[in-house]
Every structure is written in C-alpha cells, then in structure tokens.
Subunit: 412 residues, 2 copies
C-alpha cells in the first residue's frame, strides 16, 4: 500500500497540471478500450459469476455482479458523459485586492489521492476511476473480491486509454489482491490517501467510518421523510407519496416514513390506498389503523428503520413543527420533503430541517447527482464537512490561495 500510495502521489502531481482536454481524452480513450475489450471483460466476468454461484451468492448479488454487452456499453457511455463534464480544476472561486496591493485568488485544485472501497458492482471500477481522473486526482480502487477478475479486466482497458492520452499509468490503480488486510492498510494510509470513499452497503460504510484514520466521504442511512401538510394539494400529495416510496424502493432517496399533519387526515385514505394497491406494506400510527384492513400497526422501531424495500411507516404529527421534531429525532440528514401550498410553511420546513437535501412539492427520489444536473456522482454525503448531498467532480477538489504581490512585506 505504501508503494501504491507513493505511485499515486507522483501521478497526482502530473494530473494536477494536466489540461482539461488531456484528461477528457484519457477518459474517452478509456471508454474506447473498454468497448474494444468487451470479450475479455465478459470472459473475466463469467468466471467471477460462476464462482459467485458456486459460493452461494444471492440472486440479487449475482445480478449486481453480472455484466452484459449492454451493461459494458452503458459503462463506456458513462465515461463519455464524465469526459464532457466541466472541469472544476483551475476555477477562480473568489478574487479580491487588499489595500496594500496584494491580489488574492481562491483557486480550485484537485484533492490529491482518493481511495475508493466498493463491493460487487464492476462498473464502479470505471466510473469512480473516471470521476477521480477528471477532477485531477489519482485514485486507488479496491473492489469486492467476488468481482476481482472483472475489475482487473476493466482496469486494464482503462489504463491503456489513460497511457495513450499521455497520462501516468498509476493515475488509476487497482488493488490486485483479494487480501482483506489491504482494506485495513487503506483505512490506515494517512498521508498516502487524502480521502476515502466507501461505496456499498451499510456494513462496508460503517466499517470504513469506524476504522479509518483517513477522512471519509460517506453516507450511512437514507431515512427520508415526506411530510403532508394541512395545506397540501391532494393530487400532488398522492403522486409524491407514491413516487417517493415505490418508484424504486432500494435507493437511498426512497421515502421510509410518511408524516401526515393531524389537520390533513382527510387526505390519508387515498394516499394509503395508492400505496397499498401498489404492493407496499404500510405500518401506521394508531389514528390511521382503522382506515384500511391491510394496514398494520407501527412499532417504535419503525420510525428508525431504513427498509430499502416496499415497506412504509406512517406517523401523524402536529403541523410542520411536529414534522420537523419527528425528522430531527429520527431522520438521517439525507433527504426530506414537504407537500404544501402554503409558502410560509414550506420555507419554515426548508430552513428548519437539517438535511443535505430538502424539497418542497417534489419527490425524495430526486436525490441523485444526475437529477441535480451534475452529470454523475461519486456518492451522496450525509456528513457535514467538505461536501454534502450528491458529490460530483467539485466535491473531489479542494482550493488554495494564490497571492500576487510586487514586493510587499508585512509591517511589524
């Protein structure tokens, strides 16, 4: 790991000075080499999948692991999207002149060396590597052991493209061994790795957050709420509640708890019927239990549960203040939405809820870098430092101060 770290640091110095066109060229060439290596990648992946089946991986994990020609094409097209994103490096964030004539600029620069620890999705090898590169960073990738052959094949193709564009081969490094001790070495790589990004399930992210000596950009839970206010438009309320829960139940932006204003209980039967009809299990507060025989009672644990499944808890709250108190007590600072036609109530919620993303009259399922217009994302941060919410190229940068003078010295 020390050798990889030093190689990454050397590559990072070259990348920090690389022009946008060269970085984009490297990512586009990587896409081309991935397309050209399709047969190799599929063969490597078939071996991973065969082992996975033999080792009893669940069908869901096998699906995540499996590549198809269409998935490889999507991976390559994703790289081309990244290559077309605006380059954050070199942006002059602020500039000003002090009375002594010194000119100050705050200029965006790459973070340096980024460590990515992920699980069985082979496409992370390509898209995380490309995002780091476009933001001028070197990276060290450590994928799941069950996808190692796939990752190796994808990585080898990417490196061909990177080298063809004149950038260092060590721009994107892959940990080539399945030895779990190497994850520990990454977590402890202070000074070698500037930031770690875990991408995967709760177990992985929690381990990284607990053990890492290197700063971590991570989100643990997406315990997202939709609050239906007394002044909600009934049509919007039904559409948003149904979409926030059921469009995709397994993503971090999916609603897990619906909060209904005590003064909006008249809206509850239609909203809950929509959800039940769509196949959602709905666990409700006592006030709602009689509305439909398919409803079951919620327990206190439900308010703290991220189901990531077709299950919903529903609480009754006393207005927007009650909703904000429930979210402060049980939320995960990820994404929360209010449905109301009352502007003042909406602004109170948007200001008062301490989450990375707060929405008014929109589904929580918009919590996604693509929907924000970022083109891609490396993750959604629920931490408070450095970057919050969907993290794209800009979140993979830092800044420095450039000060230009004409011989100024500081008076004593």
């Amino acid at each position: 790991m020390a050798d990889m770290g030093r190689a990454a640091r050397a590559a990072a110095r070259v990348l920090a000075a690389a022009p946008t066109a060269q970085k984009a060229d490297a990512v586009r060439r990587a896409a081309g080499h991935i397309r050209a290596a399709k047969a190799d990648i599929l063969a490597a992946n078939a071996a991973d999948v065969a082992d996975g089946v033999a080792n009893g991986l669940t069908p869901a994990l096998i699906d995540r692991l499996t590549l198809t020609p269409a998935r490889i094409e999507a991976m390559a097209a994703g790289l081309e999207t990244v290559a077309g994103l605006p380059d954050p490096v070199g942006e002059i964030i602020k500039q000003w002149r002090q009375p002594n004539g010194l000119d100050f600029q705050r200029v965006r620069v790459p973070l340096g060396v980024i460590g990515i620890i992920y699980e069985s999705r082979p496409n992370v090898t390509a898209d995380a590597g490309a995002l780091c590169l476009m933001a001028g960073n070197a990276c060290i990738l450590r994928g799941g052991s069950e996808a190692l052959r796939s990752a190796r094949a994808i990585h080898a193709a990417m490196v061909q493209g990177i080298v063809a564009a004149g950038l260092p081969a060590n721009t994107v490094q892959l940990v080539q061994s399945a030895d779990r001790a190497l994850v520990g070495a990454m977590l402890a790589a202070e000074g070698l790795i500037d930031i770690l990004v875990p991408r995967g399930g709760k177990g992985l992210v929690a381990r990284v957050q607990q053990e890492a000596r290197v700063p971590v950009l991570a989100h643990l839970d997406g315990l997202c709420h939709v609050y239906i206010d007394a002044a909600a438009d009934p049509v919007k309320a039904r559409a948003i509640a149904l979409n926030a829960k059921m469009r995709r139940t397994g993503i971090c932006g999916a609603m897990e708890t619906l909060l209904i204003d005590r003064a909006a209980l008249a809206l509850a039967p239609a909203i809950l019927a929509d959800l039940l009809d769509a196949g959602c299990a709905v666990r409700v507060a006592p006030e709602l239990l009689g509305l439909d025989p398919r409803l079951t009672p919620a327990t206190p644990e439900d308010w703290d549960s991220e189901y990531l499944d077709a299950i919903l808890s529903v609480a009754v709250v006393a207005g927007v203040e009650g909703a904000m108190a429930h979210i402060a007590a049980h939320g995960s600072h990820h994404t929360d939405s209010i449905v109301t036609e009352n502007k003042a109530t909406a602004e109170a919620f948007l200001a008062g809820v301490d989450s990375a993303i707060v929405l008014h009259n929109a589904s929580t399922q918009f919590a996604d870098g693509g929907e924000f217009g970022f083109g891609a994302e490396i993750g959604i941060s629920t931490g408070r430092l450095h970057a919050r919410g969907p993290v794209a190229l800009e979140g993979l940068t830092t800044y420095k101060y450039v000060v230009r003078g004409n011989g100024q010295v500081r008076p004593s």
Copy 2:
C-alpha cells in the same frame, strides 16, 4: 460530555435560525460584559498566573497566560470586529433550474457544534466563542488547566451578553474542570461534536489529530519557504527574505528555509548579511559557507525543521523546478513564496507548489486571516478537506440543497 453535547445541539438548532442582527448583538453584548467584568477577569487571571509561577511555567508561557487591562480591551474590541463581519449563513452559493422545472439552491448553513481545544491564551475563550456564534454554531470550549480561572471569568461574562441578546446560554459552553479525561471525551464525541479545532502547540494538535474520532480542522507545521529566482529583483528579494524570517519568528507563516537559485548566487551575500545582521543564525548549503564567517553548515535535518525562532536554513536549488522539488520533499503545505520578475516562472511556481497559500513577490508573513481581509480566523488549515488556509466564518459553515418544485415526481 454527553450532556454538554446534547445541550449544544439544542442551542445549535436555535442559532441556525437566529438572524444576523441577533447574533451580532449577542457578540457585542458579550464584549460589553467582558469590559464590565474587567476586575473579576483580572483577579481570576492573577490567581492563574500566581499558580503558574509557583508551578514553574516558563516566562513565555506566563506571558501568554497574563491578562492586562489593555489585553482585555483588545479582546473586547476583537469581539466587536467579529460582530461586524458579514454573516455567511443563508448565502445562496449557487442556484439553477433543471428542465423539469425544479429550482435548486445550494445554501450556506452552520456546521452545528464545534469543539475548541486550546492551551493557555485566555483570549481564545472569547474569540473562538464569538466566531462560532457568528457562524451560527454552538461550541464547547476546553482551555488549558493553567488558565481555567481566567477562562471561567471570561466565559461567564460572554454568557451574560449572549443571554441578554435572547440566545441560549448553552451557545458557548466551557468545560469547567481541568480533568484531562474530558479532552478524551471530546475527541471521542462522534455525533455530539461535528468538528474539533485544536489551537495550540504541536503536541496538542498532534494528539488531537491522532486520537480524534471527530473530524479535525488543524494545522501541524508551518515549514514555509521563500525561493529567490535568478530573475528576482534584488531589492525585493532582500526585503522579502528579511521580513519573512525576522518580522516575527514564532508564527506559523515565518520562513524556515530560504531557497536560492543556483543562477542567483550573486544575490546571496547581501541577503544573508541582512539576516545575520538582524541576529538570525543562518545554516547554509556548502556552496554558501564561504560567504560570511558567521554562517554555519546546514545538516539534512535542517530541511525538515520548523524552528519558530531566529534560525534559518538556506539551500541552493536548480531553478524553479529544483525549488518545487525541494518544497514537495520538505514542505508542510502551509505557505511558500517565489521572488522573481519572470511572470512565467512565477505562474509555474504558483500552480506547481501544493500549499494552502502560495505567494509571488510577497512575504510569507502575510499568512494570516486578518491580512487576507477575513477580519478574524479560527486557525490556518493545512489539511485538504473542507477548509484550507486561513479559516474564518465561512470555514465554520457547510451547505444544504434546497429544491423547490410544483408536484414533480421522478419518472421511472
């Protein structure tokens, strides 16, 4: 510590919503109460100083610990400066609309709860507390045990002002015990404290960085360089080298190593004579040793030494590339300066040196939030995440995304 953390979190929720005028009023009233409590503060400080003398503290530490009427007035005036700073909270950093009609804003919000761990300077109690408050944060202060009575008296006065302005008494909390286990509790206070800011010597900062489970905003070393290029103006080179080293030798922005271009050795005699005449011990590379009998040879350890004293190491390098290689090998990513009249060389240095602050034709002693026009600073960060360089109010904030819609749901 858990009780203090919960109290701070509750106060932070009030502060996050407090208008600028109320926060400024609280800080101004705190200044007034500090002035009014001058006699109490001086008495408490006299007791701390008497104990310090009895316990054999060095004269330098006793000087740092000692308050005078003038220092108390400076403390109060410093708070009034902070009260007049622009409020970063609520700033709309970016806003845009997506094609589906969703309006996005990235809005600056407070960080939450900030822990400050410091040593014997009593004024940190006032200025760190005020900076946290103005940025909308609650804070927990833990000063050095040798200054505990002084800190208590200052803190009591501040709280009177804060409460008089209608803000929670727990806005600024002081750890009232000298028990060192409480520092450990702060370092482990994940979820209670959002960020720790150690302010003090290397030993303190290193302990906090090594042991903290909470993110740390800190700088360890200021191993700052000035590079004199072949194209340097001789007058500027002499003035900047002398000022960067000798204006104040004990601050983190003081030059520790002077780098002289091999093609600029003709400038060396005058530059080194200025420094020697000013009382600086100068340790030089072999090429320079014959220039003056007062020069002594530098050892390899000198290139990695932060003297914080009237001592300087001087290396000879091969042009700007040699200077950048020396800084990459030995620098601390704090502040480095180039002296040259060649614009292209200057830009190569400004782009290529990976430090929080890079200067052209100016003294490294400008590395200070006040000189940047920030009005105040909580520290100078040499880390790469969240905030870099002088950290003022803006560095004590984060952001959230506010999304306003009209019933949008995400298509599948």
